[in-house]
Symmetry: C2
Subunit: 220 residues, 2 copies
């Protein structure tokens, strides 16, 4: 499928490379493709990384316009702004997979959620883009495990939240391609509150274990 | 050990009976022991249940005064009031195991958390009773699984939050007696935020699975 990955950070690059490796036609969306191409990624320039990964790079709007599916891999605090740049018309009628978390980073303290309990980033995106089919998923995992869950010793669980059954079926198919075998459909997009509210304990578990290489498995 | 179980609801009765069966000397605390004794529990009177379970019943204050360890099994919305009735002096220097969740139940909607993200019930109890050693745990499980986790097909994980290392060691010992084999110490009492913020997704998972008989396992 033609997939726009919005966001050039570590999460976006990890997901873009993995989706391209699975055979999808991936375009990474960014504010300024030339500036992004020249940027260092930690191992060479973004341009080198994109060539190696086999992904194209375009503006948020061009990436979204050409895609069948968009993936929000921006930081939660910037997601609504980026999606606005991508354009409501370019996202209309399409599945938008939201894997972001609305974290704020107060000085010297652990991150907190910008919205929670009675709202969520997933819902805010769905309200702002009512013609887009928003599906929240994968936000409860570190990027490497979103892309390759099989590196854990046993399968964990991922969650789905969204209002459109067809969109959730499409996303479930993609999750299976990535290697996620246990997918629980929590319900409509308001259930993204629960999935996003896993982040505070996720951060504390990471602190306790000294690694982000873990997942929640629902034993039943 | 001498354990005061504060609260006569389903959670309190389940934990009291299990702790008594493990050989502990359990006193259930309640506002009015005579009224409680006469109350129906769903299967006979409370008095019959208490005799069968081998637990005594006393006022919150008397139960706390006689105990080495107290267990807060009240509803989260009433916990601070009940603990105030139990008495700061009666709880001073003792381990208080807080297994409650600060849920509000809005009409026709799923429960929400009364405090979250920047505060928690566990912290509020610790601030209100600074001489008590508060340990948050087990709030992420239905009562039957708090008491008998071995009924699930594989072991899940329980979490610990608290400021006092010795208190957490004591509670870990009790958790092992109950059958909890995977205990993750999240850190100080502020980590209770994360444990309590699991409740919204817990409620949605229960809805999706149609059962409360599940647990989070941290696969790593």
């Amino acid at each position: 499928m033609k997939i726009a990955v919005l966001g050039t950070g570590m999460v976006g690059r990890t997901m873009a490379a993995r989706l391209a490796a699975l055979g999808h036609q991936v375009t990474v969306g960014t504010r300024d493709p030339d500036a992004t191409a020249a940027r260092a990624t930690g191992s060479g320039s973004y341009r080198d990384w994109a060539e190696g990964a086999g992904v194209r790079t375009a503006t948020f709007a061009d990436a979204a316009a050409a895609a069948e599916i968009a993936l929000n891999a921006t930081s939660g605090a910037s997601s609504l702004g980026v999606l606005t740049q991508a354009g409501a018309d370019n996202l209309a009628g399409k599945v938008l997979i939201d894997i972001a978390n609305p974290l704020d980073f107060p000085d010297g303290e652990l991150p907190t959620l910008r919205y929670c309990n009675t709202d969520s980033l997933g819902e805010r995106i769905q309200r702002t883009f009512p013609e887009t089919l928003v599906v929240k998923t994968l936000n409860t995992l570190t990027a490497d495990l979103m892309a390759r869950p099989g590196t854990l010793p046993e399968p964990g669980t991922v969650f789905l939240s969204g209002d459109d059954a067809g969109a959730k079926t499409t996303v479930t198919g993609l999750l299976h391609e990535l290697g996620h075998t246990d997918v629980i459909d929590l319900g409509d997009i308001t259930t993204a509150r629960g999935a996003e509210m896993l982040l505070p304990v996720w951060l504390r578990i990471m602190g306790a274990l000294g690694t982000a290489a873990f997942n929640f498995k629902i034993v039943r």
